[in-house]
């Protein structure tokens, strides 16, 4: 029990220090947005009977994804003989808000499902890194490594294929738009892991060109992979205007997540979550568009300024 307390205390300390580094002003701006966006999303989903089943699936799958990407798993195994207990308590704390929401909606079966599945997650083994000899080397592999790694980690080809299949099968604008939004959100996960500082330092382009290339490559890959969805929305009742609006939303969100990665490199995940939350809020209220525009400009400025620490030779 004491080991769990110490572990949670340590994680809390790390989180507090990372948040402090983010700056209290930014935190004051981000936290309410984040809470509002999450609250709104959970309220919308939790209100529907189908959504009540989506919540535990979302919670467990995001927890599983986080578990498989943990870098501290071997460390915890080596220092804590009962490391699975530590992980289980940590994951339970992450799921607690969802459980509270499900309990509020009296969705007891989805709640039970979530509680039953959670203890299995610490037993899931981390995928072994592929051996270097078998890897293909190409421009895509060296330049869009976030996508290569992201596709491997999230089985994104499968998700993309299922998404296209569902959008064609449903033949409904809302479904295709929703799938495109989810696709863009999945892509933002690709930019969660910071690359090695050497890769930032030695990139053979000047700072601004480096950032433009990173954002440009992300957007190109995003637009190319989104084309089937755009065509499906565009040829439907929403028309090409609607399709472009959803595409643009995803492009802005992804570009901001990429910029946030470098603006707060190497600890940007909290800001990235905030960016996504802000982008989701404009769906709820267009007032947030002004905030989004301000945040975009701020990220452009901050990413250039922050990266100078790593690229002093520019």
């Amino acid at each position: 029990m004491q080991a769990i307390q110490h572990y949670l205390g340590l994680r809390l300390k790390i989180l507090a220090r990372q948040l402090a580094e983010l700056g209290w002003l930014r935190l004051l701006l981000l936290a309410p947005l984040l809470v509002a966006a999450c609250g709104q999303a959970v309220r919308l989903i939790g209100h529907h009977p189908v959504g009540q089943w989506v919540l535990p699936v979302m919670g467990i799958s995001s927890c599983l994804s986080m578990h498989r990407q943990r870098r501290d798993l071997a460390f915890l195994q080596s220092v804590a003989p009962h490391y699975r207990r530590l992980l289980l308590v940590e994951y339970a704390l992450w799921q607690l808000p969802l459980w509270v929401v499900l309990a509020c909606y009296k969705a007891w079966l989805p709640l039970l499902l979530s509680v039953a599945l959670l203890p299995l997650i610490p037993y899931v083994a981390k995928p072994r890194a592929e051996q270097g000899a078998g890897r293909r080397k190409s421009l895509v592999h060296s330049e869009l490594f976030e996508w290569v790694s992201g596709y491997r980690r999230t089985s994104a080809w499968l998700v993309w294929g299922v998404g296209v299949g569902v959008a064609i099968w449903q033949r409904h604008n809302t479904v295709a738009a929703l799938v495109l939004i989810l696709w863009a959100l999945l892509l933002t996960f690709f930019y969660k892991t910071p690359e090695d500082p050497v890769m930032v330092l030695q990139y053979p382009l000047k700072l601004n060109a480096f950032l433009r290339r990173k954002v440009g490559l992300a957007l190109t890959a995003y637009v190319l992979t989104s084309l089937p969805y755009v065509v499906l929305i565009g040829t439907g009742a929403a028309g090409w205007g609607g399709a472009l609006a959803v595409l643009l939303w995803g492009a802005v969100t992804l570009a901001m997540v990429v910029l946030a990665k470098y603006a707060f490199y190497p600890h940007a995940s909290v800001v990235q979550v905030g960016v996504v939350a802000l982008a989701l809020l404009i769906v709820v209220n267009s007032f947030y568009l002004v905030l989004l525009a301000a945040a975009f400009a701020g990220l452009v400025w901050k990413s250039q300024r922050h990266l100078l620490q790593y690229r002093w030779h520019d």
Partner: protein, 233 residues
């Protein structure tokens, strides 16, 4: 004693370890040598339980759970961001439910800035910090993957002395290193691993033939290539 019998590990069609057997006896230092990719780290991972997909048997003969009584120094130690060296050490003890001790005596030896964030340490200092976390615990076995790597000359010598003292106190140490001289000076037994199999176990009296065996059996073709690239004048 930790006993490894007929250990095998495959990743898909690739057999990384094949019928590996060795013993780690308390109060001895057992060296593990082999080329890069010979399977040393995989063997350590199986031994420590970080990798459980192996065949064969790994057990502590007196019935203890291996991870309870064994400390592991990985090749590249992990450190959480934004925690100080002191906090790291404290957590390593607390996670094993051991009381947090005063680190100052040990740190006089290793001279680490314990109140700085560990992520800001140099590679050698990170290794020393991870090592310190093991040294302050009274562990029955230590598994050290390349402990001398990245350490300065003085610390290398100190570490060698520390290992010899730990052996004297009854600790069983499994050690990998590419520094053959250091291994032959400290180990009681050395296992040569090549292509995932044990080529030979060497006792202290046989260490003299180790370097020759390595060159003759494993690098004969490479020696010929050197002769071709750099012919004698």
């Amino acid at each position: 004693m930790i006993s490894i019998r007929e250990l095998g590990r495959a990743f898909g069609s690739q057999q990384v370890l094949h019928r590996v057997s060795l013993d780690l006896v308390p109060g001895t230092i057992h060296g593990l040598v082999g080329a890069n990719g010979a399977g040393k780290t995989t063997l350590i991972n199986c031994l420590f339980g970080l990798d459980t997909g192996y065949t064969g048997q790994v057990r502590e003969t007196s019935g203890h759970a291996i991870r309870q009584v064994t400390g592991l120094l990985p090749y590249e130690p992990f450190f959480y961001p934004k925690i100080t060296g002191r906090e790291y050490l404290a957590f390593c003890l607390q996670a094993r439910q051991r009381p947090v001790v005063d680190f100052s005596a040990w740190n006089q030896l290793l001279e680490l800035p314990l109140d700085q964030y560990a992520e800001e340490y140099s590679a050698g200092m990170k290794k020393k910090l991870a090592l310190l976390a093991l040294l302050v615990q009274d562990l029955r076995y230590l598994i050290l993957d390349e402990p001398f790597n990245g350490l300065d000359l003085g610390t290398n010598l100190l570490l060698k002395e520390i290992l010899l003292r730990l052996r004297q106190r009854g600790t069983g140490i499994l050690l990998t290193s590419h520094l053959l001289g250091t291994l032959t000076e400290t180990c009681d037994e050395i296992t040569l691993l090549a292509g995932g199999t044990v080529q030979r176990h060497y006792l202290a009296a046989e260490f003299g033939s180790l370097a020759t065996d390595l060159l003759d059996t494993l690098y004969q073709d490479k020696l010929a290539q050197i002769a071709q690239l750099l012919p004698r004048t």
